[in-house]
Amino acid sequence: MQHTPSPPPVRRHFRQTRDRLATALITAGGIGVIAAVMAIGVFLAVEVVPLFWSSSDAPRINLETLWLPQAYEGHEVPVHRWQPAMPEGGGEPRFGMLPLVWGTLEAAIWALVIAVPLALGAAAHSALFMSRRLRARLKPTLELMEAMPGVVIGFVAGLVLAPWLDDHLALGLTLLVMLPSGLLLAGGLWARLGARWRRPLPMGWAALWLLPWLLVCWFLSSWLSPVLEAWWFGGDLRAWLEVSLGLDYANRNAIIVGMAMGFAVMPSIYALAEDALSGVPKSLVEGAEALGATRWQSLWKVVLPAAGPGVLSAVMIGAGRAVGETMIVLMASGNTALMTASPLDGLRSMAASIAIELPEAVPGGTHYRLLLLAALLLFVFTFCVNTLAEVVRSRLRRRYRRMEGLG
């Protein structure tokens, strides 16, 4: 210490005090902010508890009335009903939560049915086949897709897609069949093409040059669909659905919700799955290809088993998003609290119920607390699913590091 000119002790003292003070402030502030964010769960839990413990004579609520079918007046058989506000003289409000939970899950499942194949296919393609230049452009593009606000997607789904599908049900069905088979046909044709033709259409850029091909498939389908409709469904698919399958087609239904929400969650599933797939040590794939595997075989037999947990966690995060998404369900589902398995019926999710009913519910009342219970369920579900996914992912990262070390 004697060799360096030390600053005057007062100044040093001041600096150290300031440092200690600042550290204390940052610690307090940081803990405070984190606690405030975490307080959400606590708040919901505290508000929900009186529902089951209160001694007031408000409509009696217990686990049974919430989750089991009830014999309401006017119904012969016990049923599940969510009718929190009955019209004047309509009797007691009915608080069966199951239709809401059902609607939430149904919407999420249909969203995943649409999003998972698209996202995983896209992830596999961009991790293993796509040219590096295109991939560097594709990732931010799909990130932009993720940022698309729910209210816009919901508007397009509810007011554009739903009426369109209402008019073109047969075309929608035809497209569902024609697009995959068109893609397979493209693959078959491509394999037969000579090298001279294949060079301008490399596999790495397939995502772009397939776009016009998809357009061709679209035109072909719109030309084919009336023919097919006349052939198989007697000229009217909707009448056929009603007569043969007993399904009633609601204008805004679970399929529409699934398509819209699938569009919304697909980018987040894609991003995480792609990270997992492309994080697999390169040496593994190179080894497989050296042994004569095609790239798809090495994906299926080597990359996917290694990255499986990561892909699963991507799907879980997608599920968490789909369960809590509000505006899309609100605008595209018709908001009818039904409990049917038919994907052509409307539904009402918990999140949409909260958005519609909470502003009108009396604070502290049974209805209010039940909606808070729904929020708590959403919170707990997404928090658990996300934590699980995060744990899986951090395990996976360690595994990759180990593999890298071995290779």
């Binding site: 959400i40 697009l179 397939l210 959403l378």
Partner: protein, 517 residues
């Protein structure tokens, strides 16, 4: 990270069907995104283009003028029908007309059809017969249209000067009067100004337009009700571009009319921006504070690890849950108490005990806090340890190291976080529905009245405007073009914000890439 060379010819030999389905799913996703953006852009921007008005002659001799909107198959039969927007709500009772395609004899585009935008009763489509001036003079024939245009320009100027008077002279005086501070002189000035407005209003041209619809009905339309007049079929491309840009400008700068189905979105833009700005003021310091604590101060143990995972997961909690929290804690909890303590004079009508700008921006700040924390932490983690050690070795205290070395280096990361937070907040609607957005806010939250920024007021929001116009409006079909335009605006704002964030992050990565070498 793997890097792949372009697949060689051999490897591409026979990938089998699945590889093609995978490639197709990328193509499908891109196509869907392009379709959505294209739809919004075409419909949203196309609405302002003065489209040609068609004159449709039917087999039964009826005539109608309007724009074709859509076609669909006839219910229960062969053939198709077409929907025309024909305007003239005051004459027809509706602005729509379905026409069977088979019954159309001829469609033409005569250049003398006029379209008048009016304050009420939607637009008028038809022909201009004559302009009747105040003195009873009747200008008809060829010179009627130029006369109308001249008078409309004069009317615009009158309106602008009245508006100026109202806004700049009368309003401040009225406010002082209400507050009981106005002097005798000011009272006089107020009444003089009001007199002036009355005079000017009386001096507005009282011309009457004699109009005729294409099927021959007459209408006498006072000019003061008309806001804009066009002859779309007679316009050249240049004129149409001018009219289009005027339309876009009016959309951006005016308030909504006719229960949000017409007019512009200026209050919604203003509300969205103000809310987002307030939110960033709340979220930036707290987010950075929490990130600095987690990354620089806290002991890096198991607990910190779990807290970090927890914070990260909160970004995945549905936004509606934050809305519920905001309603329960901010509005009913804190707001209710604030009302009891400070605003008890105005109870039972709540001041802060109801949704408002403050609670909405606080709720969204909470919602976006995890985004800022995660992004800032990422930036902090990227700073090489050697920089911190160097600063400490040179005798800096930890606080000095933080403020002079670490935080400046993490600046782009923080900025990225805040921009991402803003982009997320701008698109969120669900929580706002619970904590303070309004369908139509009579007063903007900022004005000349003390304290200038009214945190307790409700505000309008672009996203909620879309929801409201699409689902609570009366005539959704009439509102569709405006909803498209609003949606396009919202998407554009969010895309620009996200692109900025992506660019910043990219820039950041390349800079730190050189640093750690």
């Amino acid at each position: 990270m793997m890097t792949w060379r372009r697949p060689s010819r051999r490897a591409a030999r026979s990938e089998g069907p699945w590889a093609w389905l995978a490639a197709g799913s990328v193509a499908t996703s891109l196509a869907l995104l392009a379709l959505l953006l294209g739809l919004l852009a075409v419909r949203g921007l196309g609405h302002f283009w003065p489209a040609e008005v068609s004159l449709v002659a039917l087999d039964d001799g009826r005539q109608l003028a309007g724009w074709a909107v859509k076609e669909s198959p006839l219910p229960g039969g062969d053939g198709r029908e077409r929907l025309y927007r024909t305007g003239n709500r005051d004459l027809d009772g509706a602005i729509w007309d379905w026409v069977d395609l088979d019954e159309i004899r001829e469609v033409s585009h005569p250049s003398d059809l006029v379209v008048l935008e009016r304050r009420r009763w939607s637009e008028f489509i038809g022909r201009l017969e004559a302009v009747e001036t105040e003195s009873g003079e009747r200008i008809s024939g060829e010179s009627a249209w130029p006369a109308l245009e001249r008078r409309l320009t004069a009317l615009e100027q009158h309106r602008a000067s009245i508006e100026r008077l109202r806004h700049q002279v009368i309003r401040p005086l009225v406010l002082r009067l209400e507050a009981g501070e106005a002097s005798e002189l000011e009272r006089e000035r107020l009444s003089a100004a009001q007199e002036q407005v009355r005079e000017q209003q009386a001096a507005l041209p009282k011309d009457i337009l004699i109009l005729e619809t294409v099927d021959g009905r007459q209408l006498r339309q006072p000019l003061t009700e008309v806001t804009d007049a066009l002859q779309p079929n007679a316009m050249g491309v240049g004129e149409k571009v001018v009219a289009w840009s005027q339309g876009v400008w009016r959309f951006l700068s005016e308030g909504p009319r006719a229960a949000n189905t017409a007019g512009g979105v200026w209050p919604a833009i203003f509300g969205t921006v103000l809310m987002v700005v307030l939110m960033s003021i709340f979220v930036t310091p707290f987010g950075v504070l929490a990130a600095v604590y987690l990354n620089e101060v806290a002991h890096q143990g198991r607990l910190t690890h779990w807290v970090r995972i927890g914070v990260r997961n909160l970004a995945g909690v549905p936004s509606i849950v934050y809305g519920v929290f905001g309603l329960g804690v901010f509005v009913y909890g804190i707001g209710g108490h604030l009302d009891d303590w400070f605003f008890s004079s105005s109870l039972p009508s709540p001041t802060f005990g109801t949704g408002g700008l403050l609670w909405a921006s606080l709720t969204l700040a909470l919602l976006t806090l995890p985004v800022v924390i995660v992004a800032t932490e990422e930036g902090l983690a990227r700073i090489p340890e050697s920089q911190r050690e160097g600063a400490l070795a040179l005798g800096a205290t930890r606080f000095e190291m933080l403020t002079r070395i670490v935080l400046p280096m993490a600046m782009p990361a923080m900025l990225t976080g805040v921009i991402l937070a803003v982009a997320r907040a701008a698109g969120e609607v669900a929580p706002l529905m619970l904590v303070g957005v309004a369908k139509l806010a009579p007063q903007v939250p900022v004005d000349g009245e003390f304290p200038f920024l009214h945190l307790d007021r409700k505000f309008m929001h672009l996203g909620y405007h879309i929801f409201d116009a699409a689902f609570h409006g009366g005539d959704v079909q009439a509102a569709m073009p405006l909803i498209y335009a609003t949606a396009l605006l919202l998407v554009l704002v969010i895309l620009v914000l996200n692109l900025t964030a992506i660019f910043l992050r990219h820039h950041l990565r390349s800079r730190h890439g050189t640093l750690s070498k």
